[in-house]
């Protein structure tokens, strides 16, 4: 029973990591109607920058702040230089262009940092454990990831639903022409939204650095799961991204942990051995297919569309 609780906690933690990525992607997709495959590249940059700044400055927080700001600036630059021309084009053009950006950033990282994975340190004071319940010790850093992720969820919700900027973002999403006719600089607004999305990807990347491998292509590994999250949650909805991420995180984690032992009670052990891992790895895709079948617009479709 304790093990199930521990695994549920793992599921939440994995879900929150996915959410940090999904929030940025869904904002850009839902509001700007832009499919940004290069979101993973920004995640990678966040991780590389945080690791490098931490090594240079020796201070974890300075490194986090610097990495976040630089990723935000890079995001804004990418929007200004490359993506601005793509809003009126169809999704296929966007996919092609942002795929090109993935190749560009991967090679750039190879030139700057080399092809080998780099070292990302976990600060000593974060490497301990906390006692969640008697019998459950949980890594402190992962607990921190959960806290940061939920904090970001709350802040984003406040930003989108309770501020003037959020109002403009929502208005821009539902009727771009009308908003610009009212004298709002929609281009600047889009640049800001894209920068925010980039910063969120960067945040996810820098949180991931100490526990995952900081290497070229790390963004693409997670991006597929993130797309599953936003499809399940409903494109363009922050709430959908959060719920979708938690559902995917939970289903994936519990599937990996308990599917094989559960199957072994009904099937022969050898059949369970081969079916368990195979089924666990496609569980989230089955879930996505089911959601698409029953609710093609996702669990929480953005109200604007």
């Amino acid at each position: 029973m304790l093990l199930v609780l521990e695994q549920a906690l793992n599921g939440v933690q994995f879900g929150v990591t996915l959410f940090l990525m999904a929030a940025g992607l869904t904002l850009v997709f839902g509001i700007m109607n832009l499919v940004n495959l290069a979101h993973g590249a920004l995640y990678m940059l966040g991780a590389y920058l945080a690791a490098t700044f931490y090594q240079r400055t020796g201070s974890f927080f300075t490194a986090l702040a610097l990495a976040l700001v630089v990723t935000l600036v890079i995001g804004i630059l990418v929007e200004l230089v490359a993506l601005r021309t793509l809003y009126e084009r169809d999704h296929l053009d966007q996919v092609l262009a942002t795929f090109g950006l993935i190749l560009f950033f991967n090679e750039m990282v190879a030139i700057v940092w080399g092809r080998a994975a780099i070292y990302a340190k976990l600060p000593a004071w974060l490497s301990g454990h906390i006692q969640v319940l008697p019998g459950i010790r949980y890594p402190l850093y992962r607990a921190l990831v959960i806290v940061v992720g939920l904090l970001v969820a709350v802040l984003l919700w406040l930003l989108v639903n309770r501020t003037r900027l959020g109002m403009l973002i929502r208005a821009g999403a539902s009727n771009r022409t009308m908003v610009s006719a009212l004298g709002v600089n929609i281009r600047l607004l889009y640049t800001l939204v894209f920068g925010l999305g980039a910063a969120l990807a960067g945040l996810a990347g820098l949180m991931a650095g100490p526990i995952y491998a900081v290497q070229i292509g790390m963004g693409e590994e997670i991006l597929i799961q993130v797309f599953v999250v936003i499809v399940i949650g409903g494109i363009g909805s922050i709430k959908g991204a959060l719920v979708g991420a938690l559902v995917v995180g939970m289903v994936d984690t519990l599937g990996r942990a308990f599917l094989r032992p559960t199957l072994a009670t009904v099937l022969s052990p050898s059949a369970a051995d081969s079916a368990g891992p195979a089924l666990a790895s496609v569980l989230i895709y089955i879930l996505m297919a089911a959601v698409l079948f029953f609710r093609p617009q996702g669990l929480f479709p953005a109200a604007s569309r």
């Binding site: 080998a116 491998a213 891992p277």
Partner: protein, 391 residues
């Protein structure tokens, strides 16, 4: 002005007249590896080692000028086969060498040997090529895939370790590694867990592992998967609690990214930078000098590959048409290998020693792999019996 033009034409004419003659006496080697994407780091080590070998050989193979054509397989069997075809048909190479991945090798090697050209593998050792598909034109300077986990199984068996928890990615090589391990390890295996290939987060599996409370853990997590697994294993506080034994998980490429999270890790391997012999010391020192980092076994094998080819071309005195003579020469493995002296089995796979390595703090505080003891002496692979080749 006219004189200058005339001289230029004259030089050009001379160049054109001379080149074809020189080209016929050139040894052409096609080297296939992965040069792009995240796995390009392995290919970079292999390419650098080939270049270093050519430096040490005075940019000559068997006394002849040499041209190496590098090809990128992108970790895809179909691309590897295309690259090999191009090397055979367009460049008319005498040798194809390299290849990191077993699935790529299974596409490339038969193509090359069927065309009557030598295939000198410098990494992948799938069991098919050691057994039923063995070929007189195929040699490898690496190992058969199963040998390394066999060595780990033997070591853990000898230590009387029991209650082992085994983990690997869910694909052909992952299962081969565990079955190779079990060929020599006869103790109790608590559980065998196969994870998704390319998985990034192992926290769920680590929680399951801790709940089973095994005495030791055996894993195979190559590349980035290994980096994530080791970091998360250490982060979960299991480092120091349950000893971790692995194959192809910790090497000189991943160590700088993992650092202290790898300390105390056990690996088995046929080679290590601290292996004591003249050829290896020269290789390791010059590699560090030229490229500023530690070499890795992928590189050592590729370095050896060039020397093996050199020994063959030397033996036939540059007569590249004499394939029989070159086969006979390579079977002797008569060259200064970085692993020390070894012999070839009937299937052209090395019969060699395997060592137990441990990640320890090096002179500068950075972790390094260090040889602890010899696990196998002159270890033969388990598939040579299926190979029908006669010497």
């Amino acid at each position: 002005m006219r004189t200058v033009t005339r001289i230029a034409f004259l030089l050009l004419a001379m160049l054109l007249a001379v080149t074809p003659a020189a080209a016929q006496e050139k040894v052409k080697i096609g080297f296939i590896t992965t040069l792009s994407g995240p796995q390009g780091v392995i290919g970079e080590h292999m390419k650098n080692s080939v270049e270093l070998a050519l430096d040490h050989l005075g940019r000559k193979i068997g006394g002849l000028p040499v041209e190496v054509i590098y090809g990128d397989d992108q970790v895809k069997p179909d691309v590897g086969k295309q690259v090999a075809d191009e090397m055979l048909k367009r460049h008319k190479v005498h040798f194809v060498s390299g290849v990191i991945w077993s699935n790529v090798m299974l596409a490339v090697a038969p193509t090359v040997t069927a065309a009557g050209t030598f295939m000198i593998g410098t990494n992948a050792g799938p069991h098919d090529l050691a057994g039923k598909l063995c070929h007189e034109l195929f040699f490898t300077t690496s190992w058969q895939n199963d040998q390394t986990p066999e060595a780990m199984g033997k070591y853990m068996q000898d230590q009387g370790i029991t209650d082992v928890y085994a983990m690997a990615p869910n694909y052909a090589a992952g299962k081969d590694m565990v079955s190779g391990f079990k060929r020599y390890f006869k103790g109790k295996i608590v559980d065998e867990v196969y994870t998704k290939l390319g998985q990034t987060d192992y926290q769920a599996e680590i929680s399951q592992l801790r709940a089973k409370n095994p005495k030791a853990v055996f894993v195979f997590y190559p590349g980035g998967m290994g980096i994530q697994f080791l970091k998360q294993y250490a982060e979960a506080g299991l480092r120091g609690q349950i000893p971790l034994y692995s194959v192809y998980t910790v090497d000189e490429i991943s160590l700088p990214a993992v650092k202290e999270a790898a300390s105390g890790q056990f690996e088995t391997r046929y080679w290590s930078p601290d292996l004591k012999n003249a050829a290896n010391e020269k290789y390791v020192n010059d590699f560090k000098k030229k490229y500023g980092k530690m070499p890795v076994f992928y590189g050592a094998q590729s370095y050896d590959g060039m020397f093996l080819i050199d020994s063959a071309v030397k033996a036939v005195k540059g007569n590249l048409a004499d394939q029989k003579g070159m086969i006979a020469a390579m079977r002797k493995a008569d060259y200064p290998s970085t692993r020390g002296k070894y012999t070839y089995n009937i299937n052209h796979f090395p019969i060699q020693n395997f060592y137990l390595l441990k990640a320890v703090a090096g002179p500068g505080g950075e972790p390094v792999m260090q040889i602890q003891k010899t696990v196998f002496e002159n270890h033969k692979d388990s598939y040579s019996k299926e190979c029908g080749m006669k010497w």
